[in-house]
Symmetry: C2
Subunit: 298 residues, 2 copies
Amino acid sequence: MSTSNPPSVISDSRFDPSFTSHVIAATGPNASPRARKVIGSLIQHMHDFARENEITIAEWMGAVDMMNWAGRMSDEKRNEGQLVCDVLGLESLIDEITFKLAAETSSPATASAILGPFFRHDAPELPNESSIVHGVDDGEITYMHGIVRDLKTQKPVEGATIDVWQASTNGLYEQQDEGQVEHNLRGKFRSDRDGRYAFYCLRPTSYPVPNDGPAGKLLEILDRHPYRPAHIHLIVQREGYKPVTTQIFDSEDQYLENDSVFAVKDSLVVEFKKIEGNEKAVRELEYPIHLRPVDGKV
Amino acid sequence: MSTSNPPSVISDSRFDPSFTSHVIAATGPNASPRARKVIGSLIQHMHDFARENEITIAEWMGAVDMMNWAGRMSDEKRNEGQLVCDVLGLESLIDEITFKLAAETSSPATASAILGPFFRHDAPELPNESSIVHGVDDGEITYMHGIVRDLKTQKPVEGATIDVWQASTNGLYEQQDEGQVEHNLRGKFRSDRDGRYAFYCLRPTSYPVPNDGPAGKLLEILDRHPYRPAHIHLIVQREGYKPVTTQIFDSEDQYLENDSVFAVKDSLVVEFKKIEGNEKAVRELEYPIHLRPVDGKV
C-alpha cells in the first residue's frame, strides 16, 4: 500500500477566497471546452499574480497604459504587442510548445505557424550559387552551402527547397524597411541531384529590437539591453520528410548568452569561417541539413 | 516535534525546466526591487499558464491581436485595455487589494486611486436639495438623503463633502457622451450642522459595457452577457476621518448576481423606495453614512 499526501491548499490569502472561482464560474454553457479551460486558467493565474504581489491600482493602470500604447504603435509593419511578449520570453516558450506538438502530431498547419512574423510565402526561387544580397554595402558576404541528406539512410536528398530570410545590417527585414528592394535578403533554393545547395547571403549582424515603445520601456525597467544575436532563418521542405524550421546563430556574437528575446538554443550555433580566394565572399558557412522521413505521404 | 513536508516541486513538464528561471535571471542589477519581484512573478505565471495549457502560436497570436486591437480602440474617452481586465475580474480584485492596503496604511495617494475612471475632481459644489440631473427624460428621479455620523460617537458630522457621480440612462458618463452637458449627473454636497445631506439624482439603470471591441469578443467567447447592474458612485470626506469611496447598487436590479465586471458586494446593495407627494421625485433612497475618525490630523 502506498501513501500519498493530498495536494496542499494555499489558504492564507488576506483576500476573499471565493472571488476567483466566482469569476471563472460566470463562463456560460455555450463556451467551447478549450475557451473554458484556457481562459479559466488565465483568470486563475492573473488573480494569483495580483494577490501574491498585492498589485495596486496605480501599478495595474500603468500596465494597462503600456498595453494600450503597444496597440496604438502596431500596424502591418510592427507588432508591439508581440514584442512585449517576446522580451518576457513568451514567444520562445510558445515556439518550443508548438514545435513539440507539431513533432507529435505531424500537423502541417501547426508546423507552418512557427515561421515567425517576417517569413513570406512568395520568396523568389533562385538558382544555386546566386546571391540574396542587394544594395547592402556594409556587410560581410557569406558563401553558405551544404548537402541535404536523409536522416535514416544518409543519402543525398534531391529537390528539397531551402527557404532563407535574414535582416539587413540595420536590423530590419525588407518589409520593415523602405530603403530595401522587394524580397531583399530572402530566397528559395533547391538541392541538386547530389543534395547540394549553395548561395550568397550576409553574415548576419546583431541588432536591437525596436525600443521606442512599451517593450523598450520594459527592458529599461528590467535593466536589460535590447539586442538580439545575429541569425539567419531557414525552412527546409521536401515531400516525404518532416519540414525543418530553424534559426541559426553566429558563434562569435556577443549576445549569444543574453538574447533579448531568449531564442538561442546551443544546437543552433554555427561558425562563419573566414575564407580567401572567393571573389564574391569573405566568409563561408557550411551547413549540412538532415531531413527525417515520414511514413506515408505528407 | 512537528513534522512538515517539503514543498512539492512540479517536475513533470514536457518542456525545458530551466527556461523560465533563465528569463527571470536576465533582469539586470539596477532594476528596482519592486520591478524585479513583480515582473519576475509575472514571467513565472505567464510561462506556467502557457505550459499548463500547451498554448499554441495560433492561440497566442490571437491574444496578441486582441491586445493590439484594445490599444487601437483606446483614447481619452475609452480605455479598452482596462475593460478587458474588468471582464476577467481583475479590476475588482485589485480594488479589493488596494482598499485593504489603504485601510492598513492610511496613505491618501492609495485611497485616491480607487476612484475609478469616471471620477472628476472638479465636480460642481451644489447646495443641498438641488438636482444633478439635466436633460434626462427617461429616468426615475430619486431623492437621495441621509445623515453623516461619527462611527464612534454616533454624533452628526457637519461639513463632510459627499461627491456623487453616475451614468445616464444610456449607460454613459457625461465625459463619454457628447449629448450630455458638462458635469451632468455629478455634484459635490456638504453635510449641514445636523449632519444632513440631500439631493436629487437618477435611480441608476443597468447598462452593457461597450461590447464592440476585444472585451465584447471575450464575453462572447465566454458565453456571457455584457451588463452591469445599476449603481451610484460616492466618495465622502471630512478632515479627521477616513475617506469612504463606494458604489451602491439597486437591490431590484436583475444583474446583481452576475455583474459583467464583478464589482457587487452584498454590503453595497440598497433599496430605492417608491414615494408619493414629492413633486420632483418618484423614488427615495435614504443612505446613512458613517465616518471612522483617524488619530491626529490627516
